[in-house]
């Protein structure tokens, strides 16, 4: 492999890699604003200056590919002065409203200013201000905070496949806005907030809800569809405040869709059933398990499992039915019209898949048949679901049967159920799922579940026990 030298350290590189990437490998962080590994390189912000031997001017590291024998300095006096100059320029018109800005704490402008700028302000002129456009339900615009890095424009054009963000006017009057001031249309708008290096584009859903530095972060997988985008649940005090994508170049790169990003809300919704219920009344777990036992006895059953459950949950259910309800049939369900992974096609050219559940592939791997193949059903039907599977699509096929739901249900979903035993959502459990490509990924528990709900494994174990005895959680 060819080599270059960065701050005296020799580093290997692959041809075509830029100096930001190569420097990072050498443990050298070069500050950037406009550069983003998932977007084209425009070299507009002029933050990433480096000095390269034999070149008279400072060069921008983002637009310079490493070359054999290249000698790069990232800390020399001209570099330090160059960066300070850019920082000063960027802050001339910035409102410095960090105390009320949601980006504070995770803001590139703040961090780079702290690292490379000056605490003095030599500019005494009036600041430039803008009138903001309404960008629709996902994103809040605050143009005064914008540093014109054009990441948002490039994200729209290059990733979301829509030219909706634009630069209008020019020079000092340049404005970054939407075409004709229209609301954003992409279903991937949340990413605008992630990639904006300042608080110019923030997520409305997160607005004024939590300071970024207070959030705890749990790496997990989005359960919104079978793509399996890697994401982080950000939470504090057992409450989720937002979900953001995590880099995985094989699956979602740096992005996720809005549906997946906002999906977590149902797990904290007041309509979610969090106590065992019989009809419309809450019952204790002992009663619930006893009633369940009485109703299913040891008869062969029809068991429906959501393809939103983890591999471990599905295996538990299969094992339980095999051991205690010989002759039962188990079917998976999830998305109407998508019964097999062959039918699970991309919805667009970006990320979304047709299957609105995350583990269709895993259910198939365990040999579970699709609900489409269900010809008849037992009088009592057990329905297991993790929260995403489309419950209504199966309950309407089972009119007249006694339905018992085990899993994550809302009041609306449970209307046709005789009983519900609440279980863990994807945010509250560990487990394995297989995405549409067959890649195995792990869910991680971010939230401590309420003590009124139980894991499917525990519910099944209690049901299998001869004597019903439910201990305290």
């Amino acid at each position: 492999m060819p080599k270059c030298t960065i701050d005296g350290k020799e580093v290997e590189f692959k041809p075509g890699e830029n100096l930001i990437t190569v420097a990072k490998r050498a443990g050298v962080e070069i500050p950037v604003f406009c550069y983003h590994p998932g977007l084209s390189v425009v070299a507009q912000c002029r933050m990433c200056y480096v000095e390269i031997e034999k070149m008279p001017k400072l060069q921008t590291a983002c637009s310079t590919n490493a070359a054999e024998g290249m000698v790069v300095k990232t800390q020399s006096d001209p570099v330090v002065k160059g960066r300070a100059g850019t920082m000063e320029f960027l802050l001339l018109n910035h409102p410095l409203d960090c105390p009320i800005c949601d980006k504070a704490g995770e803001c590139d402008l703040q961090d780079n200013s702290f690292g490379h700028g000056s605490a003095n302000m030599r500019h005494t002129e009036e600041r430039r201000t803008y009138v903001d456009v309404d960008m629709g339900p996902v994103i809040e615009k605050n143009m005064n905070r914008c540093i014109h890095c054009t990441r948002c424009i490039r994200f729209g054009e290059e990733v979301a496949g829509i030219h909706e963000m634009v630069a209008i006017q020019r020079g000092n009057n340049i404005d970054i806005t939407t075409i004709d001031g229209n609301p954003l249309q992409t279903e991937y708008a949340g990413n605008y907030a992630d990639i904006c290096p300042t608080g110019s584009l923030t997520l409305r859903d997160f607005r004024f809800r939590k300071r970024a530095w207070m959030l705890k972060k749990t790496s997990t997988i989005c359960e919104g569809c079978s793509k399996g985008c890697n994401m982080e649940i950000q939470h504090e005090g057992n409450v989720i405040y937002r979900c953001v994508p995590r880099e995985n170049l094989e699956i979602n790169k740096y992005w996720m869709c809005d549906e997946g990003r906002m999906n977590y809300h149902y797990t904290q919704d007041e309509k979610r059933i969090l106590n065992p219920r019989s009809g419309a009344t809450f019952i204790g777990w002992e009663d619930a398990i006893q009633t369940l036992k009485d109703q299913i006895n040891e008869k062969p059953l029809t068991v429906l499992v959501g393809s939103d459950l983890t591999q471990q949950e599905l295996e538990n259910i299969l094992e339980y039915t095999k051991n205690y309800h010989k002759g039962s049939s188990v079917y998976h369900f999830g998305t109407e019209g998508v019964f097999t992974s062959a039918q699970d096609l991309p919805v667009d050219k970006i990320l979304k898949m047709k299957s609105k559940t995350s583990n269709l592939n895993g259910a198939e791997k365990l040999g579970i048949k699709s609900v489409q193949e269900m010809k008849s059903a037992s009088d009592v039907v057990l329905v297991f679901a993790g929260g995403r599977a489309n419950v209504q699509s199966v309950t309407k096929k089972l009119e007249g049967k006694k339905l018992i739901g085990i899993g994550v249900y809302s009041l609306n979903e449970a209307e046709s159920f005789s009983m519900v035993l609440p279980s863990l959502s994807f945010t509250e459990k560990d487990g394995t799922i297989f995405n549409h490509q067959g890649i195995e990924q792990k869910l991680k528990r971010a939230i401590q579940p309420k003590n009124t709900i139980k894991a499917i494994s525990e519910i099944l174990m209690l049901t299998a026990n001869k004597k019903v005895k439910v201990g305290a959680n």
Binding site: R46, L58, F89, E125, N172
Partner: protein, 424 residues
């Protein structure tokens, strides 16, 4: 000194722009004939290299070398784009060529296109040149009619179309990659280089961008041969003649032609321009368009060409000379120049977007007696944070005048700051 000019003798008469005149008095289309019938592309490029033809758009880059960068084996189409944006303040030489000798430009485009393998050439002309665009289109039509353009030109099997594309009035679209974006219908913003246009230019294809005057020189060069063309230049590495746009406080402003490197700046001002109006004293000269660093009256005994001017810390640029006499307020002038660059900044890169406007504000304060003593150094520091740090050369264009004006005429700025002089 200026007899048998290649261009100037044909200027100022409307009838000279016709194809007939061109054929009868200017050996019209003979160079194209020679190239298409007797030469191969490599030979043409070799000849242009021999002629030491440097780009006339501002940077003075050797034209043969630029054409040589266009990859021979390319699946993609290749483009020769003529830069007729002529917007550097003080420059008006390309306009003369388009007005009076448009066929020279067309013939140059034929030869250049043949040399680099272009089948469709564009002339990107500044929006304000409404008339010139019309004249060019009329000349192009004439050329099509007579078989100098279109399919199978002069029976050679070579095809070429030319399209005139009008800009919308932005200086930045004279920068070659800004021009290409605008040509493609995008925002007129310069592109990051590399890739250079020779690799990925118009529509992502290999492209050479050349100034009007550069291209219009090619027929002359081919007709007289590279060596003879090179010898027209009286200095190393600069062949042919140069059109200069002489303006400001001279008695006879105008567009003149000189043999490259044959005269000093003083000779241009005194002999060609007839000296300073009202026989005032010379104060300063901006030698190569408003972006070139200013020279004092003592610095004008310099040969007027690319390298000598570089040696004295300025540049030849677009060869637009602005002569400034003793009564001129340089603070006002610098504010005017800075305002221009701030207004024309495309706004994509930070130092230029923010810095040019800031320099304008500081200069405004100085002029209006609102500045602090430290503001002058601040002004220079801001200029230094722009110069050499921007994505395209507009930043340098804006910083150069500020740095040089303050360095050479500091007391004028200080007298405003100290309140000794007031804005009138």
């Amino acid at each position: 000194m200026r007899q048998n000019t290649l261009f100037e003798q044909h200027f100022w008469k409307d009838s000279n722009r016709s194809l007939d005149y061109y054929l009868q008095n200017m050996n019209g289309y003979q160079a194209a004939q020679k190239v298409l019938k007797e030469m191969n592309p490599d030979q043409v490029i070799e000849e242009v290299k021999k002629g030491n033809l440097r780009g006339r758009g501002g940077a003075g880059f050797p034209m043969g070398m630029k054409w040589g960068f266009i990859p021979k084996a390319s699946e993609k189409p290749k483009y020769l784009v003529c830069n007729a944006d002529e917007s550097e303040p003080g420059t008006c030489k390309d306009r003369q060529i388009m007005r009076y000798t448009p066929h020279l430009l067309i013939e140059g485009l034929i030869i250049g296109s043949f040399a680099i393998g272009c089948k469709h050439s564009y002339i990107y002309i500044r929006g304000e040149y409404v008339n010139e665009a019309k004249l060019l289109n009329a000349a192009i039509e004439e050329a099509y009619e007579k078989g100098y353009l279109g399919k199978n030109i002069l029976g050679s099997g070579f095809d070429l179309d030319i399209t005139v594309h009008r800009g919308a009035g932005a200086y930045i679209c004279g920068e070659e990659t800004g021009l290409l974006n605008s040509l493609e219908g995008k925002r007129g913003e310069p592109r990051v280089k590399p890739p250079f246009p020779a690799v990925s230019g118009a529509f992502g294809c290999p492209t050479a961008v050349n100034n009007v005057e550069s291209i219009a020189n090619v027929p002359h060069l081919i007709r007289m041969g590279g060596d003879a063309f090179a010898q027209l230049g009286k200095i190393d590495k600069s062949g042919g003649t140069r059109l200069i746009s002489l303006s400001g406080h001279v008695k006879k402003p105008g567009v003149y032609e000189i043999q490259a490197g044959s005269v000093t700046l003083r000779q241009i001002i005194e002999d060609i321009g007839g000296g300073i109006i009202n026989d005032k004293k010379l104060k300063a000269v901006i030698p190569g368009g408003s972006s070139s660093p200013i020279l004092t009256a003592d610095e004008i005994d310099v040969v007027y060409d690319v390298e000598p001017l570089m040696k004295v810390g300025t540049m030849m640029g677009s060869a637009a000379i602005m002569v400034i006499h003793e009564d001129t307020d340089l603070v006002k002038l610098l504010l005017r120049i800075t305002k221009f660059y701030a207004h024309e900044s495309c706004g994509q890169c930070t130092p230029c977007r923010e810095g040019c406007h800031w320099m304008e504000s500081i200069l405004h304060k100085i002029l209006h007696g609102e500045a602090k003593p430290t503001d002058l150094d601040l002004l220079v520091d801001v200029a230094q944070n722009i110069g050499g740090k921007t994505l395209c050369a507009l930043g340098d264009a804006a910083a150069g005048p500020v740095i040089s004006f303050v360095k050479k005429f500091r007391p004028e700025f200080e007298s405003y700051i100290k309140g000794q002089k007031r804005y009138a």
